[in-house]
Symmetry: C2
Subunit: 412 residues, 2 copies
């Protein structure tokens, strides 16, 4: 059907491409496929009983407010709770440093709107979170990729990137999506020193920080930066904008996340959000607050950790046993993903096609690379599938990988 709209798209819309992950998710939605492709939390850990109770309490006691229009900043008791949580684990912030967003994806989009002029450089890890690239591509960002290894961003290679004059540095320090690696304490400190030396601020994206299955909790970048600047014993310094979310701790279907930023940035973000969607669902904010308010999350996160740790362990054991020697992978201390590397010359997208025939799926790693490369890499999720399914899926995947390597080795 020809309509008058096709010739009227704005220039920024012309080269819009659909998300690789989203399109893949469609392919892998067939129920007989074992999907390690998505970034889904395990539905087994959703606290359904607590949600039901919370919905009932909210609708019985504050139903009219919870269903009404609300302030753009977000439900104040929820922001106060997040401020207390942040003070306990990281730095002292005020509720006025916090904006509730409709998922962290919205926070990434708003950061793009606020800060990125067409052609601006952003420093990202390689690989980095695809959703951030999608959000910032829309604003014409260019990227400088910094290599990562098993200790996260290789900060020795950061200085050259900073000398280009980027708008900000984007980093996922804990159990990174997609690689699963964690930025070491030493590198966190070096990152902060270098950022300070060149006056470049940092976006810290931390959806999985609480989901650690081994090793010790590392202080967040925002926390270390505030200590570095020596402001009143750990009060928020403002140099780091920090993102986190309820998607992994409660449920992604609520679309509830938060940004911590200087007050003047929050005010700009609030204006952005007014024009973008007025406010995040007040009902969901009331319900999340009701579920979480009496320390429930502290208990609940233990359940999530124990569930996901088992799944990670099962996956790593099976991979150790079954995967061909030519393939290597990361051993994440937390989070939801690990990262596989095949020999150079093998195209993960081609391997995926065969894998889907064998009823198993992952995400080819190329799209997580902002400036090219990574065709031989793959992101593998371990949080969603139950242990038995993981065993079967890794078995199928191992067969697929062996074939691919065999085929590759026999090429002229």
């Amino acid at each position: 059907m020809q309509t008058p709209w096709e010739y009227r798209y704005a220039h920024r819309t012309q080269k819009m491409g659909s998300s690789v992950i989203r399109e893949l998710l469609k392919l892998t939605e067939q129920p007989d496929i074992i999907s390690f492709a998505g970034g889904l939390p395990a539905p087994d850990v959703f606290p359904l009983k607590e949600f039901k109770e919370a919905c009932n309490v909210v609708l019985e006691t504050v139903g009219a407010q919870a269903l009404q229009y609300s302030t753009t900043e977000g439900h104040r008791p929820l922001r106060e709770m997040i401020a207390r949580h942040t003070a306990r684990y990281s730095v002292e912030v005020s509720p006025d440093n916090i904006l509730i967003t409709s998922g962290s994806q919205q926070a990434l989009d708003f950061i793009g709107r606020l800060f990125i002029n067409r052609g601006d450089y952003v420093v990202v890890e390689s690989p980095t979170y695809l959703g951030a690239l999608q959000a910032w591509n829309a604003y014409g960002a260019q990227y400088i990729s910094v290599r990562t290894d098993e200790n996260g961003m290789v900060v020795d290679e950061l200085e050259a990137a900073l000398r280009v004059g980027p708008k900000f540095i984007y980093v996922l320090p804990n159990f990174q999506n997609p690689s699963g690696v964690t930025l070491s304490l030493e590198r966190r400190k070096k990152l902060i020193e270098l950022a300070d030396k060149y006056g470049v601020p940092i976006i810290e994206d931390d959806p999985y920080g609480q989901l650690r299955y081994e090793g010790e909790h590392l202080p967040s970048v925002v926390c270390l930066d505030s200590q570095f600047r020596g402001r009143n014993g750990g009060t928020y310094s403002g140099n780091v904008i920090y993102l986190s979310t309820f998607s992994k701790l409660l449920a992604p279907g609520l679309r509830l996340a938060w940004v911590i930023a200087p007050e003047q940035v929050i005010r700009k973000l609030v204006m952005t959000k007014q024009a973008a969607d007025l406010h995040t669902s007040s009902f969901n904010q009331y319900v999340a607050h009701e579920v979480a308010k009496n320390g429930f999350l502290d208990e609940h996160v233990k359940v999530i950790r124990s569930t996901y740790k088992e799944r990670r362990d099962v996956m790593l054991e099976m991979m150790d046993e079954m995967f061909p020697a030519e393939v290597t992978w990361t051993r994440p201390h937390g989070g939801m993903f690990l990262w596989g590397m095949m020999p150079e010359g093998i195209d993960a997208a081609e391997v995926l096609k065969v894998a889907i025939d064998r009823k198993v799926a992952f995400v080819p790693g190329a799209s997580f690379h902002a400036t090219g490369g990574g065709a031989n890499t793959m992101r593998i999720n371990f949080s969603y599938s139950a242990p038995d399914i993981i065993r079967e899926g890794v078995t199928r995947l191992a067969t697929t990988l062996k074939e691919a390597i065999h085929k590759n080795g026999h090429k002229p």
Copy 2:
């Protein structure tokens, strides 16, 4: 606190101004103020019991899906329900013509992203919906205002606007926010003919279409356009993008609205939404579908109509009785707002300051005018306050207006 972020805002952020309505709402949030300023539905009509039942059913039967990540397009059963509803009241559409958005504000924002290049012209009514101007200002829209009277947009003055070559025409045909007026059937037809003559498509924003308190339902612009184009007896023609919402029929706190557009536009909107917030809360979509699915809305809308009709009648009666002769106002056949006009030379923003001292509030009309004017106008909401409160509020407002006119008359 000085942070490195202040010098890093993108150019589009520099002149971002906070919403007049939002800032005012803060002022008028003091509990002793009678506010006719907001655009709030009456909390009395929120179906709390039905919501509670629906939350329980959803969490008991499909809890894991409702709390999980979901598709960007929106919950398919909800889109199917909207398609059936649209076929019944307007034109035949497929669920693939429908995108669920986080409130209509998000639809307006996405339309700005998709279609507006800096400097593009958009034809709007004068006055028009402030939220659309806020959304599109961010993309550098320019406006051509077409005058409205008691029958909506004065379409005889539209042709000159269309010859400028605008991207689209934006129209709120039913009980317009802010003016409360309705576009007559004759003018709807003329609008469609003129749009066709110049090949300019239309955005129809219809949040209140079901909330009619007198007179006969008029066919929507999208319906008339499809008839005009003679496509298979009322199948969607694609020339009109149609917006509506659950905010006025169920509850705004859910942030649930929808866009009807050609499939290729929906695909672009889906990509936009992927980068903007992945998807609208799946939980809220399941709950809304559960509440609405067995024809509940048809019954519920009767309750809303009868409640709001009484409030409108009380307000009009009181204004007839109390308001000074120099002030005129519209007599809406539905919706939530009416529009007051004071004599030229009286500044509604100044009058509001005095009104707030007298503990009553409205929205000065100037900001609803895309290209200036309207300083003497005001938007008055009749849906939110109970009848007795309306009586008292109109009394306070009448005193304020009499004073303002008296003062104005005595100016040299």
